[in-house]
Symmetry: C4
Amino acid sequence: MVLTGADVAAHSTRESLWMIIHGKVYDLTEFCSSHPGGERVLLKYAGKDATEEYDPIHPPGTIEEALTPDKHLGDVDLSTLAAEQKPAEQPAAKAPSGDAPLTLGACLNLDDIERAAEKLLKPKAWAYYRSAADDEKTHDWNRASFYSVRLRPRVMRDVTHVDLTTTLLGCKSSLPIFVSPAAMGRLAHPDGEKCLARVAATQEIPYMVSANASVGFEELAALAQPGQTLFYQLYVNRDRQKSEDILKRVAKAGYKAICVTVDAPVAGKRERDERAKLDEDAATDPNMQKAVKSAGPDAPDAPQDEPSQGIAQALGSYVDATLSWTDLAWVRRASGGLPLIVKGIQTAEDAALAAHHGANAIILSNHGGRQCEGAPSSLETLLEIRKFEPRVLDKVEVWCDGGFRRGTDVLKALALGARAIGIGRPFMYSLAFGDAGVSKVATILRDELAQNTRLLGATKLSEVVPAMVNARELEDNLYDGPYESPVKTILARL
Amino acid sequence: MVLTGADVAAHSTRESLWMIIHGKVYDLTEFCSSHPGGERVLLKYAGKDATEEYDPIHPPGTIEEALTPDKHLGDVDLSTLAAEQKPAEQPAAKAPSGDAPLTLGACLNLDDIERAAEKLLKPKAWAYYRSAADDEKTHDWNRASFYSVRLRPRVMRDVTHVDLTTTLLGCKSSLPIFVSPAAMGRLAHPDGEKCLARVAATQEIPYMVSANASVGFEELAALAQPGQTLFYQLYVNRDRQKSEDILKRVAKAGYKAICVTVDAPVAGKRERDERAKLDEDAATDPNMQKAVKSAGPDAPDAPQDEPSQGIAQALGSYVDATLSWTDLAWVRRASGGLPLIVKGIQTAEDAALAAHHGANAIILSNHGGRQCEGAPSSLETLLEIRKFEPRVLDKVEVWCDGGFRRGTDVLKALALGARAIGIGRPFMYSLAFGDAGVSKVATILRDELAQNTRLLGATKLSEVVPAMVNARELEDNLYDGPYESPVKTILARL
Amino acid sequence: MVLTGADVAAHSTRESLWMIIHGKVYDLTEFCSSHPGGERVLLKYAGKDATEEYDPIHPPGTIEEALTPDKHLGDVDLSTLAAEQKPAEQPAAKAPSGDAPLTLGACLNLDDIERAAEKLLKPKAWAYYRSAADDEKTHDWNRASFYSVRLRPRVMRDVTHVDLTTTLLGCKSSLPIFVSPAAMGRLAHPDGEKCLARVAATQEIPYMVSANASVGFEELAALAQPGQTLFYQLYVNRDRQKSEDILKRVAKAGYKAICVTVDAPVAGKRERDERAKLDEDAATDPNMQKAVKSAGPDAPDAPQDEPSQGIAQALGSYVDATLSWTDLAWVRRASGGLPLIVKGIQTAEDAALAAHHGANAIILSNHGGRQCEGAPSSLETLLEIRKFEPRVLDKVEVWCDGGFRRGTDVLKALALGARAIGIGRPFMYSLAFGDAGVSKVATILRDELAQNTRLLGATKLSEVVPAMVNARELEDNLYDGPYESPVKTILARL
Amino acid sequence: MVLTGADVAAHSTRESLWMIIHGKVYDLTEFCSSHPGGERVLLKYAGKDATEEYDPIHPPGTIEEALTPDKHLGDVDLSTLAAEQKPAEQPAAKAPSGDAPLTLGACLNLDDIERAAEKLLKPKAWAYYRSAADDEKTHDWNRASFYSVRLRPRVMRDVTHVDLTTTLLGCKSSLPIFVSPAAMGRLAHPDGEKCLARVAATQEIPYMVSANASVGFEELAALAQPGQTLFYQLYVNRDRQKSEDILKRVAKAGYKAICVTVDAPVAGKRERDERAKLDEDAATDPNMQKAVKSAGPDAPDAPQDEPSQGIAQALGSYVDATLSWTDLAWVRRASGGLPLIVKGIQTAEDAALAAHHGANAIILSNHGGRQCEGAPSSLETLLEIRKFEPRVLDKVEVWCDGGFRRGTDVLKALALGARAIGIGRPFMYSLAFGDAGVSKVATILRDELAQNTRLLGATKLSEVVPAMVNARELEDNLYDGPYESPVKTILARL
């Protein structure tokens, strides 16, 4: 059936809610109340074409999975749609600093990429990538913790040739670096995660695809070059069957390992993200604009609106908060026996438990400061493991992420026992420049790593040893309370 | 007797000082010298209607208690009062930052509420609530001390359901939070403390009514819902009989416990409050305006004015500075045996003494940084108790206040042994939005607490344990001098 | 002989240099090269009336002491002096912050007094009082060190009455505070140090008169009230006979003790002071103005001018750098046996040596940060003495100065064993307001001390004990190298 | 052969690339690909007169050494060269602060010199001297580490006369200071390093000539005064024969010691320097200007340009990265037995190794923060040596550099065992004022050293002892991991 714009426009209320996506008309009346992103946004586009809004934040197939086929009412005759009256383009949420680099050539380091992205990305995209929990102290601390560590460069060693290659779970990598899973690449670039996949291939580094990627994981796998390493990041779904289905498809698509994210049973409070949503609502909703204007002492008791959700909360709504250690075996089974990575370890206790429960690698991570405000940086957790559970470093591969921006940041973690480092936001920011941007991030890190490995007096990663790092300042602030080894406790119970 | 405005205006000097309050004419000539707020402000309104000035800073009944009935000379014929020539509206003491949220809907956290209040409240109200002692370093430190503590989030635990309920002295609360006693709510909103009482009922959290509330404690009790918990904060009066009378009325009104404030034998030096008063005086007093204009090198030796008192000093003038531990028994007796809370404990020694002298709960508090500049934050005092007097935590309930703004702040204190947290300024700031504002503060805290309890891997408050906190940085700066247990000393003397 | 302005003007070169001071004509041709303030300033006023420049920075009698009587050539006929063409008034060296208080009534604390002084004083006066050595880090640290110390307020003690009186070397004082010696009071106020002397009398606190006071010490003594305590600060002169003469006069004038300043064998490098001098030179010297204008890349090698001296260097030029411990006995003898105070102790070693060599009191001081950049604050030295030489506290009175601005600063030092605190700059700044300003400084400190003594739970100074202070942060940074007791070494040699 | 400008202009491509330097025409077609500074800059000046660009950044003889004689095609007829169309003068990269001193007379300290240089130097020169690695944290920390150290001034000692003389490897110096090797003096002044050599002579301090000086080392030696001390800083060339040739010439020219720089096997990442190059390229290259203008969201994938090299990378391209300890003997032999200094020691291990392998002096240095970001300051390395390898201080002379700006900075290092301090950037900055500037730097340091040596209670450098320094804050953050003495390991192997 072919419908007209006017047909659809007649169904713009909660009682009957139709919407156009990619030229198709859907009836969302029933679905409305269970929309992970809340009802309000659906009502905003009720009776209209929501393709432009829908596209960059939903992976392909989302609507098809969410609705039964009968909710697809037919196609719309595009010629019958009135050109939408858009509100004037919103200014960027924050004026970028005057000297932000404007070209990729002017970007000398990963901070330059970030500043450029702040200028080039849409406010909503910038807010989503950049946001962190609460007051963003943990985000800032992730970065600052590197500055409190000193290097101990050794001299008079032949450093003509330097070899940065390593393996992650047996997969070769040209660098001790992988692309961290981050969602919603198409907010920044039409090709979204495809850029990440293509460049990870040419740069020969593993790419861990986000469960919330805005390009389907099978589409990304189809782009893979021979020998390219893809990992899949899983958020376990409340509906376990859905997760099992995905895991089978992931294994079939050639992914080399499954990463279970354990630090996000609920989404963190990312106010920057929420504010971007509020700003957008205010710009498009005449009622809210009015409310803003009339507010003040004379109208203090105005009825409180349903709070706007940021992207993070909308995305995380299906995550299973019941996940526990014994589920690891289920994940492995469902994936057909792929190696397991556990992401989000923040204490020595949980590092030991992960190793005990069969994880092949763990990622020390506080989710880029996006989850629990106050969590330790991955460097701190690494030092805590060295203090309380040093044998974990022999039993599993220990990877880190969070705030790594410089080659020396990476080297500090490697020296203390990490095997690989995940880079998240910088790659997302670099999507503002497409493939060239992603490639630049990898190249900058490669150059800085090579240069500083040499300056440390090392020629391969195995020569980057603990004695090359003075982390005294962090060590003196490690947890020092009573420590009870959880694995000992488990073993004692047996 | 009915008097005219002209009759009253004829008595505008220290020799004969009449004033109109709520349409009644009072003779304040004798009272003038004992006015807790000083003579000057009375002289300023001598012969005039002072209702507008009087109202928000005096609890009902103040004037009736202070004067004998013969000082009520009669009523004024309101039609005979000339419309007052008001000075132009004073600008806010400080321009708020450009991006202060203007609506409650735009307030995502308690800091937003504070910034909104700075913009919406009258300068005098803002100054009174916000002010702290001396250079406000203790105020700032209260907040900063949370940032020096890290959390240790545990993962892979089923956190689907989280239960934040607890009890305070046996009274149920939906949150480990109570409304701290703070004075002068009507500076911010015509309903003043009534908003706090109403919302505490709907949010099911205890409300501790300030001795200096601008709504009478009996009026507030009359608003209470069945099962609602009200505590009463007492400043012991130099005239002990007055305190006994109040305590009897408090018990009769249904208050569940008495809180004795022990950190304010004299008021702290709150310069922000004093400056707001000076500004107000300057704006209304032609002589002071002139003085300001002519000041400078040519007039350095101008006679020094009697210093302006801030609200805090005026309010605190009746407090009994002789209070000592043995008085606790008297308070309990006078209240008919209500549980006792001691507020303002700042050392391990005094925590032990309070427990020894029969307190049921203690509040670790430096009065929001409003009393002794340099006092420890409540987190520091809590750690000091764990170090020197750990048994106190078993003997009394330990509550904390001062600088708590985030769910994680609350969780840090709870993990270290606190049972409940008092929130003061944020609730006062939220009065700028009336009931909706107060409710928003509670809701924000509830959401943040639920979210972060889960992120810590806990599902109820008893699972928030010391090992979830790394307070090493504070611990390493605790008092380390010789420690003499005061209770041991007392027991040794017996 | 009576000379005309034209007569004098004819002698304006280094070959023949006459000058008018207070209506008298002096021949400075020979003296010029030994002028402590350098030749340049003399050449600037050669042939002119320099009274206005001379007056506030030279104590009475300076010129008479420096020149033999024959250099007084006669008096000038004042009617023959042309009215001087003054350059336009120089703007203040630095724009004061917009909200600097403008009246004494608006000054609530000692920082307000400082900010007012910055606005009200002449740039040269402000620069001289405020300047400190090098990058002024020690000056700033003096103040900051107080913030790193926490108080431990005790509660539930009867603090109705508080007694702040004490004695300094047996002399009664209403406060544990004395006026520190500081020079050049007449830069700020025509009455200069007379204001300090008068107010010290009414406030009943000791006043230690600076050796470089701009009012003669005998003139100040003549103003003293019965029972008033004056101390005299001595800089030992290279010409010891001059010092002996002064000490005799000091003793005769009724001074109660002699303070030997030991931290200034040479003056510190006070660049703020030097810059003020440079600015003044530039404003009055056409050649320098031109140089400033033409400077830049085209004139990089311009001949370097003789550097301008600040006031500090000019004042200190007579100080004897050979002073050593054995000279204390000489000072005492020359003063007829007055008690001795040694000012400028910065290590535990020197505290012990001072006590060993018979000092009655020592002042822990880094000269307000004006001498050796990097020296410890007096709190640190006090803690160092407690660590290495605790018996010194029993043998001599230990006084402190440097950066004390708040009642709590004073109480922190007293709790750790200091007996009295010197206040320097704040009193000098307060001279901008004359007697009323000086009085205000004392009153603010008195009020803050009374208030905070009560808030600490004490009612007299002897109850302010070490356990009321947590100085852990400073203690953990004390010198920890090998410590050799110098007194033991001396005794071992005997 | 005499060529015309038109002849040369016809060879402006990579296929045939001619260039005019000092009136001579060279064929650079073959050389182009091996130019240490990259091809791009050559192409920019292809077919043109590049003298002005070439001159200040190449030492004399560079082109003659790089090309075989046949590449010199002949001289150009200067009259045939068209006057070049220069782009408008570029503004300074950064607006200097408003109060930067403009004349040498207004410079009171080394920071003033730096601020003046920022204003007076060309942006490229400023960027080259000032730049440091990565985020310049190490550069900043070099300076900040001094502030964390306190002095312990001793009093009551005769400090009338102070003697600052010392010897460096037996060579007399009037100060414990030498001119550190720094390259490219002619960027700042036409006479470049000649200024340094001349003033080092008059100030009687050693001058260590940079391997990359823009004035030839033999020309500098020819300027030397009798008894003047010159050291030569060597970067070992990949072509060892070239280094041997240089060392012979150095020894013949009268240099007193050879300094082998060991912390720069590759150049650090100096982004300030690289940015200055980018700015310059952008100002002169129409294509780049266009790229800058058109950049933005619409052109995100613009092809990435070959990155611009800063001066540092260009200069360092010949350095031999295979250098190892056993090469020290070769250097000594090649120099005819001159004493050896090893510059760039950053750990106790390498200090011990340098001493073991026969170095006569070591320089604790992180290359002014220009190499490995995160390296320790020289004060920290000095303390580390005191902790782990104290005997090194007896075996070799220990010199320091990096961030020294004040007399007290120097004294702190001397007290802890350093014998001499290298001053680098301040002397380079001072070249903006020519000889007078260089002289002023030395004079300021001399005055500050004399003054503070006295204030410490010392009269000669041997009296500046460890107990005069409290470095507790740095000591408590020293490396504390397992320490393995490398010399013991070597000896155990024998």
